[in-house]
């Protein structure tokens, strides 16, 4: 009797193990194909966990992140391209789901704004420096005559007044 129940338990364990193994896409069970799995991992790192917002779905254990990881793995396993997978999620969650915002007219300011500001600033600094240099050059050529004795005396008097 005891042996029978033990055998039953063992059988149940084996069965459970099989069932667990068979439930194909638990979020973190890697795909057998290493190349596909590498793509899955790369996509996981690019997608935002919408619940935690600052993290990728690879870094988050939120329920939604797990579901999204599973979806990515499922679709890659089914032969979808990377763009098809991200496209599926972008359709539902918007560009926000991508950690790297895509380059398109609405995001030009975001992508190119800093470089444009830098170039404009560099141009301004360059122009100012050049102007200062030509002004200094002009001042050098038109150097005022040395002070006369009278001017020197007035200057000294003024400086003495100040002291």
């Amino acid at each position: 009797m005891r042996i029978a129940s033990r055998a039953l338990l063992a059988a149940a364990c084996v069965l459970l193990g099989l069932v667990a193994g068979a439930s194909a896409f638990t979020p973190d069970e890697p795909l057998a194909d290493a190349a596909l799995e590498a793509r899955v991992r790369a996509l996981h790192a690019e997608l935002r966990c919408l619940v935690c917002q600052g993290q990728s779905i690879a870094d988050s254990n939120a329920g939604l992140a797990q579901d999204m990881r599973a979806i990515v793995r499922e679709r890659i396993a089914a032969g979808a391209s990377d763009e098809e997978v991200t496209g599926f999620l972008v359709e539902r969650y918007g560009d926000y789901v991508l950690l790297d915002p895509p380059v398109k007219p609405e995001t030009y300011a975001l992508w190119f704004g800093p470089a444009a500001v830098f170039v404009a600033g560099a141009g301004l600094v360059f122009a100012l420096l050049r102007r200062a240099r030509t002004a200094a050059g002009a001042a050098g050529e038109a150097r005022p005559e040395p002070l006369s004795a009278e001017e020197r005396r007035r200057l000294d008097a003024l400086l003495d007044d100040d002291a």
Partner: protein, 201 residues
């Protein structure tokens, strides 16, 4: 500055003054730019809702989904895409028994259903069937139809990332509004109901 030292001395300082005052104002330009930038960022910081992701599905047709009934409420289920867009404006609410805010908005949904303001449809998100049955049994069922989204995939089709969320769907089956988080009496009176009335016209 260099060019000022070369200017004619002493005689006309009064005439030079307004020019130099204007020129001096130039140095305030960066300050004005800074204030403008700070104001723009400040407005976003104080009035923006960083926790709320704008829906990508606004004005799009409802996604494809088909859900089985919630356990114990077989007569009010399941719920699928085809149930929407039959010429009637509808409210689709994503809820779960484990979700605290859902309990807060539930009486408001019950009142909407009892007043017959708008038909409500429910997506029961990742719930344990027995818990959902008990919760709805105790608090009442405001939904015309309900579907059990046990694995959360239908919610992902809707772009949902948390419960509760509520969508206004027009008679043609397009998503016209998305409310993230708990609905308040104010949201319903000021946003949801006026929008429903607009859509009916």
């Amino acid at each position: 500055m260099a060019d000022e030292s070369t200017r004619a001395p002493a005689e006309e300082p009064a005439a030079a003054k307004p020019v130099s005052a204007l020129r001096r104002l130039r140095y305030l330009v960066p300050v004005f730019l800074f204030v403008a930038l700070a104001a723009a960022l400040g407005v976003q910081l104080l009035t923006g809702e960083p926790g709320k992701v704008p829906s990508a599905l606004i004005d799009k047709p409802v996604p494809e989904f088909a859900l089985p009934p919630v356990q114990g409420f077989e007569d009010a289920g399941g719920f699928a895409s085809a149930d929407l867009g039959q010429g009637e404006v509808a409210l689709v609410n994503v809820f779960a028994s484990w979700c605290g805010p859902c309990r807060v908005e539930h009486p408001l949904l019950m009142a909407l259903a009892e007043a017959g303001t708008v038909p409500l449809y429910g997506i029961n998100y990742k719930d344990t069937p027995a818990d959902a049955e008990r919760w709805l049994g105790r608090l009442g069922n405001p939904y015309r139809l309900m579907g059990a989204d046990l694995d959360g995939r239908a919610a992902i089709e809707w772009g949902v990332y948390g419960v509760p969320e509520t969508f206004v769907v027009d008679g043609a089956g397009r998503i016209r509004h998305r409310h993230i988080g708990v609905l308040s009496r104010h949201d319903i009176d000021e946003t949801i109901v006026p929008l429903i009335e607009d859509l009916r016209e």
